[in-house]
Symmetry: D2
Subunit: 104 residues, 4 copies
């Protein structure tokens, strides 16, 4: 089962900056061979369900291993069986409609 | 690794009512032996990481098996290594502070 | 426009415990006359759109005023025009289906 | 109060494709003069609190006006008082750490 997801990991009990922890997660996701797109409030992830969630678990484990006492994560994930879809399709499909609306 | 989570599963491409699909997920979570608390916008879940996410995967698989073409889920999940905590602790801890603030 | 929402406020750059900040938000929501239900990973809120979001803004303002440097909030909110619905309806509707499934 | 947010609007009770509704929201956000970045599972938004949430309300109103019976939205939003930050800063800060880690 393929999943398109969006992951937002928030370390708690650390400093105000969380970019170090977010970067560590990004490296873990990429090392897992997952397709990712980092944005200003999370990271898009595309891959097989088990691989995606195994990588997310490694993110929590790795952050705790570096001393982060508490983590609160918010994740969106979508699956569909009507047709194949990837991250680029989703964005392209919306952008095309935004454009056609503007021109009409 | 223990996790306290909150799951909100939204079937897409079905009717306006989603309670049948939410009830099916609830049954799957309970059948997995997980502690749950159903509320008006999701379900709290407490358990071991692997058991929680295995059950969430079964929710997606079961809904698709009954014909739901597309699912968009939103999930919060938290882990901590500083101390043990369960769902009741979290609510009690906030309620105690709400009360003491009101009385002060 | 009525909205049923679920709010999860996470203070960043503070200690590991966030119950004080969550309790402060709870008091603000209740003081606004909003119907709330506190659970282990957030708070259900029911009310008119403008009142709900005005109270959520006050939560951010109040936490910052007490010195919280950064806040990351996750919120779900739903509106519908097909029929009236309240928080109890949503839970009851799912619970009824969970029960009937168990008995069948 | 400035806010950096991420919005994911899910129409319920419509077809399997939601790109038309997502495009409509995107147009509303851009027409409001808000800075946005569309990605595969939502849209980053940057702006003043009141303007951001007024635009989000217009998204719900506009979708309902075109016949969408029910909407379930998931939104992340962050505020901070320790320093100014924009969407590009957030991504750049993480990317820099990802790169330096890779090279080290």
């Amino acid at each position: 089962m393929k999943v398109i997801a969006d992951l937002c990991v928030v370390p708690i009990g650390m400093g105000v900056s969380v970019s170090k922890e977010v970067a560590m997660c990004e490296l873990i996701l990429r090392a897992a061979g997952l397709k990712t797109h980092l944005h200003a409030y999370g990271t898009n992830i595309e891959g097989e369900w088990d691989e995606v969630f195994a990588a997310v678990k490694r993110c929590h484990e790795a952050l705790h291993a570096t001393g982060v006492p508490r983590i609160s994560t918010n994740m969106r994930f979508g699956t569909r069986i009507d047709r194949e879809q990837n991250m680029e399709d989703k964005v392209r499909s919306v952008e095309a409609k935004v454009l056609s609306e503007k021109l009409s």
